[in-house]
């Protein structure tokens, strides 16, 4: 394959991925979508969407940040243990912990409803959605942190800290955490992005009072006029695209740091 053929094909695929994004958000800021951009730009659709669906955005942010805090608190210690232990048990635990990624969200969600749908007011609470997001996102945090832990000389650094007289909390906080900050950042960006966009589980887990952004979007796609749906999609992209860009930046940085070491 010659260079120009390759470049042409690559550009074509890039266009396939990016063009629909532009086409989809344009009606959301266009005064009259049938006349096109010549009819002028407007924030009318955005304001209308915000008035009706602003709550879904806030709820999604609330769930995403809560998911982040929990996956950090639960996932980082788990990754540390998995990195420190080489045995069969540790590998089995690792395999188990990443299983929720392999199972379709709709199956997990149905299981959660069967198991806990009748427990108190949980079914009506946003916490029910949070539980689903934590189960689904935890493996991504564990993997991101584990990858960094395995790429560094964890055992050596910890032994060196011990030789200097550091107790376990001292070396965990002073040596290990600062050196896995990159992995925690990458994992955090992934978790927030996935939680903000999670639909497969959330569609089953939500109630009319706990609608998240993607659930609202699905509703808009079937029920609202194109301008509103597009404006709503634009709001979603405004949230998610910076996160995805930050993820690309963090991955690039990790590569460079890895190359130096």
């Amino acid at each position: 394959m010659g260079f120009w053929t390759g470049l042409g094909f690559t550009l074509l695929i890039s266009a396939f991925l990016i063009l629909p994004v532009l086409v989809s958000v344009l009606p959301g800021i266009t005064a009259n979508q049938f006349e096109g951009l010549s009819s002028g730009l407007t924030t009318r659709w955005l304001r209308e969407v915000w008035a009706n669906y602003g709550g879904t955005v806030l709820l999604s942010l609330q769930i995403a940040l809560s998911t982040l805090v929990i996956t950090l608190l639960v996932g980082v210690p788990a990754a540390y243990v998995l990195a420190r232990h080489a045995g069969v048990t540790a590998r089995l635990v690792e395999e188990a912990l990443v299983m929720p990624v392999a199972v379709p969200g709709i199956a997990t969600a149905l299981g959660l409803i069967l198991a806990y749908g009748a427990v108190g007011d949980l079914r009506a609470s946003w916490l029910f959605i949070l539980v689903g997001h934590v189960v689904f996102c935890l493996p991504f945090m564990v993997r991101a942190v584990l990858a960094v832990l395995l790429s560094m000389d964890l055992k050596g650094l910890e032994e060196a800290a011990r030789a200097c007289g550091a107790s376990w909390p001292q070396r965990f906080l002073g040596v290990i955490l600062p050196n896995i900050a990159g992995g925690m950042l990458a994992g955090s960006l992934m978790v927030v992005t996935l939680s903000l966009g999670e639909f497969n589980m959330t569609l089953l887990l939500h109630t009319p009072f706990t609608r998240t952004l993607p659930v609202g979007l699905a509703d808009a796609y079937t029920a609202l006029r194109t301008e509103m749906a597009s404006a709503y999609t634009l709001i979603f992209f405004v949230l998610i695209v910076p996160l995805l860009s930050a993820m690309q930046w963090a991955a690039g940085r990790a590569d460079r740091v890895g190359a130096v070491r």
Binding site: G156, A163, C164, A166, S167, V175, N179
Partner: protein, 311 residues
């Protein structure tokens, strides 16, 4: 400050059943520099890690510091300093941060930490690099940071695990001399692991040669070189010729050209400071002789071999 170390019945068996170390006794005097010498897999690093407190000996083994039983005391409470083969510098801290770490975790006041760090920086000639990131240092500089970090908290014992093996030959020689001077001036009990016999000779008060999880011989460098306890030790600390029951080093022999000589020169290899001559006799026995590069005999020449003065 420095302590005498006693090991009593210290063995180490890995969970899979491999014996890394057969139960052994070892006495190290206060202020002494003991070198653990041997090929990889001989148990020298395991022995060092037992003394450090990074490994627990098999049941019955005891580690004593000045008579105090420290067997169950983990390394972080043993007050030892350790230099690792990979240095294991903390990438999240600069040079001064690394050196001061052992003082900070002991809760020593900030001003005192700063004073001691400055002192260590000066001693290891790193003052101008105090704020440098450790991944921006050369190998030799990293080595000195590791050393300064280990001795900054004034440990009772200094443990060095092949500290120079990651460096090239010239730098290794230079740093070996620095470490030697440092150990002498500190007067600290030091245990130094290496597989390099020249390093062992240069640094040690005594050498403990190890073979397959056992101590093969303990003694001064001269003891090991001139009176090796067995073939393993003899072979490990230098090349040898076997003359009957006797071991003779190549540089203890001298050649004399002689038409009636019983040895024939096979090959003469120029090695810089000396020439190594390989000889063979009619019976097929082989002999190595080291001599200065003066009047080097040509292959095929017949020579007599005599011993130089007494060893």
């Amino acid at each position: 400050m420095s302590v005498a170390i006693k090991l009593r019945g210290c063995g180490k068996t890995w969970p899979g059943g491999t014996v890394a170390l057969h139960p052994l006794d070892l006495d190290i005097a206060a202020g002494e520099t003991l070198v653990l010498l041997g090929p990889s897999g001989c148990g020298k690093t395991t022995l060092l890690r037992l003394i450090a407190g990074l490994e627990l000996p098999d049941a019955g083994g005891q580690v004593l510091f000045d008579g105090e039983d420290v067997t169950r005391l983990p390394i972080e409470r043993r007050n030892v300093g350790m230099v690792f083969q990979s240095y294991a510098l903390f990438p999240n801290m600069d040079v001064a941060g690394n050196i001061g770490y052992g003082l900070r975790v002991r809760g020593i006041p900030r001003a005192e930490v700063a004073r001691r760090v400055d002192e260590m920086l000066e001693m290891t000639r790193l003052t101008e690099f105090a704020r440098r990131r450790v991944d921006a240092l050369s190998g030799g500089q990293r080595q000195r940071v590791a050393l300064a970090r280990a001795i900054a908290p004034r440990p009772r014992v200094l443990l060095l695990d092949e500290p120079l093996s990651a460096l090239d030959a010239r730098l290794r020689e230079e740093l070996r001399q620095e470490i030697d001077a440092l150990l002498r001036s500190l007067g600290i009990t030091a245990i130094y692991v290496t597989h390099d016999q020249a390093e062992a000779m240069a640094l040690s008060d005594r050498i403990c040669a190890m073979e397959r999880g056992r101590i093969a011989q303990i003694g001064t460098g001269r003891d090991l070189y001139h009176r090796p306890a067995n073939d393993f030790v003899a072979g490990f600390v230098g090349d040898t010729n076997r003359l009957g029951e006797e071991l003779v080093r190549p540089e203890q022999l001298a050649l004399h050209p002689s038409a009636e000589g019983e040895w024939t020169v096979q090959r003469a290899t120029f090695l810089g400071p000396f020439v190594r001559v390989k000889l063979r006799d009619a019976a097929g026995r082989e002999l190595m002789v080291d001599m200065p590069d003066l009047a080097t005999p040509a292959p095929g020449a017949r020579v007599e071999v005599r011993r130089r003065g007494p060893a």
